[in-house]
């Protein structure tokens, strides 16, 4: 291969130009996303921030828009998230540990694996129908928080399992060997070395899963969450509503005042979501710092 100096120079310029071109393209792509988010935030804030107040958070829904609040929906969402996490995390993490650390690698586990991946892509309304049939009717839980959170737990379970499996897979095999070599049983290897090392990664997956759950509306409508709730739930068997449904309800009203309420509701929902994510990220960074010294 012969390359003349002049030819090389010319090509080099072309190569550099291509590189610059792709950087611009990448920045533009990022910009579209950020701009869309910014427009949304600005628009929402302008419309709804005036409505966000202690009274708004602490009032039940009302026919008069200026007196309506999100107390019932906010409490419903908090209950819902707590129960969903309580069901989805132990089952999801447990399934991931079994599949990664214990299950033999054969056709059966491959089938299960493929199905979990498929379940992650099933539309949420389908889970709603499943929840309605299984929890509300067959198990006679009624249109309760328990039925809702079990449905939501099913919905996010594949995400928790897949993310936890990724985190476990990222733990180097040498750590397992080291633990086995000093006479640890498989359970000791898993519980004292592998899971602690995978915990930050698992947390990331759990954050993602719960973030998805907090915004889901369709399955909750299917389950029959209420549209107008003048009380906060006292226990898991109570009827309930959640923030997205309250927002949906307000946004569908013809009066402009209710739309302002919807915007304010969205601001509260986003605030809850971001607080949850921030807490989880701080927790994860702490764990990571501990394992890196």
């Amino acid at each position: 291969m012969t390359v003349t100096q002049a030819g090389f120079r010319r090509r080099l310029l072309a190569r550099k130009a291509t590189a610059v071109g792709f950087v611009i393209l990448a920045i533009a792509a990022t910009g579209v996303g950020i701009a869309a988010l910014a427009v949304l935030m600005v628009d929402l804030t302008r419309e709804g921030i005036g409505r966000v107040s202690w009274d708004f958070i602490n009032a039940f829904p009302s026919r008069k828009p200026e007196e309506a609040g999100i107390k019932a929906a906010l409490w419903g969402t908090i209950w819902m998230m707590g129960l969903t996490a309580a069901f989805a995390i132990p089952i999801g993490v447990g399934a991931a540990i079994y599949l990664e650390e214990y299950a033999p690698k054969n056709w059966l586990t491959r089938v299960i694996q493929t199905n979990i991946a498929n379940l992650a892509g099933v539309p949420s309304i389908v889970y709603g129908i499943l929840g309605l049939t299984l929890f509300v009717r067959a198990m006679e839980l009624g249109r309760s928080l328990l039925a809702g959170s079990l449905t939501m737990a099913l919905l996010v379970l594949p995400i928790v399992i897949i993310a936890s499996q990724e985190a476990l897979r990222a733990v180097p095999g040498s750590i397992r060997e080291a633990a086995f070599a000093v006479g640890a049983s498989r359970w000791q290897v898993v519980s004292r070395q592998v899971v602690p090392a995978a915990l930050p990664g698992m947390l990331t997956g759990i954050i993602l899963a719960l973030s998805r759950a907090i915004g889901e509306t369709a399955p909750m409508i299917m389950i029959g969450a209420l549209l107008f709730v003048p009380f906060t739930p006292d226990g898991p068997l109570d009827r309930f509503t959640v923030l997205p449904i309250q927002i949906f309800n307000w946004a569908a009203r013809p009066q402009d005042e209710f739309r302002v309420n919807a915007a304010a509701g969205i601001i509260v929902l986003l605030a809850v979501l971001l607080t949850m994510n921030a807490a989880a990220i701080i927790l994860r960074n702490r764990l990571q710092a501990r394992s890196r010294g």
């Binding site: 033999p104 080291a178 070599a181 006479g183 004292r192």
Partner: protein, 285 residues
Amino acid sequence: MIRERLQEIANERPVVAPAQRDAEPMSAPAAAETVAEARHLSVWYGDFQALRDVSLSVLGRRITAIIGPSGCGKSTLIRCFNRMNDLIPGFRTDGEVQFEGRNIYARGVDPVEVRRRIGMVFQKPNPFPKSISENVAFGARVNGYVGRLDEIVERALRQAALWDEVKDKLHKNALTLSGGQQQRLCIARALAIEPEVILMDEPCSALDPVATLKIEDLMRDLIRSYAIVIVTHNMQQAARVADYSAVMMMAPDRAGEMIECGLTREVFTNPTDKRTEDYITGRFG
């Protein structure tokens, strides 16, 4: 020419001061007595035969080196002594590995029990991403050791010649140590459960020459109380540290075979197999 080279390599072996060998603790295995033994051991991974009819005695308070070219089954062999290969799917054996009067591959033998008695140090330092003391104490903890853990940690770190370097930072993360220190920490971790035999699978291959020499000194020190088996593809290292050497080769079907075994000096200066001579002098491998 070849003879000279062999002589040269053999001479790298340091003379161990007799006084050093006198200070033998009572609990240590009797010197030069077989503590573990592979008998006609064959190993398969699925359909692939990795070892064929290998026999090797591990002697108490002696260092046994397993040498040979890449892929000849050295690691497979050493990992048979603490049943680490059990973790690999498709692994099966024929023949026996005797330890404390029984075949460790017999039915009813728990590999966890075997690994508590036969410790291991790996090729790449693999400390847990936890504090230095937690690393050392882990084995004692999982095995339900009764006693003061901090005493166990100090004793093991002293034995591994690491105590003075880390005594002020026992609660620091083990990953902050240098590679050589990490490997000595891994040795300390293996020592903390007071095994009978320590297996070392190329313990110096990821280390610089200074750290390597430190580990080798440490090994000569440790055989006052332990039997050591070391896998190495570094001929000089075998010559420097090992009392006994076993040479392995790959058969045409890629199964590992043992072609020579004996006193290191004998193996290096007077090999019985032509392939040993070729390998040691660097003609191949």
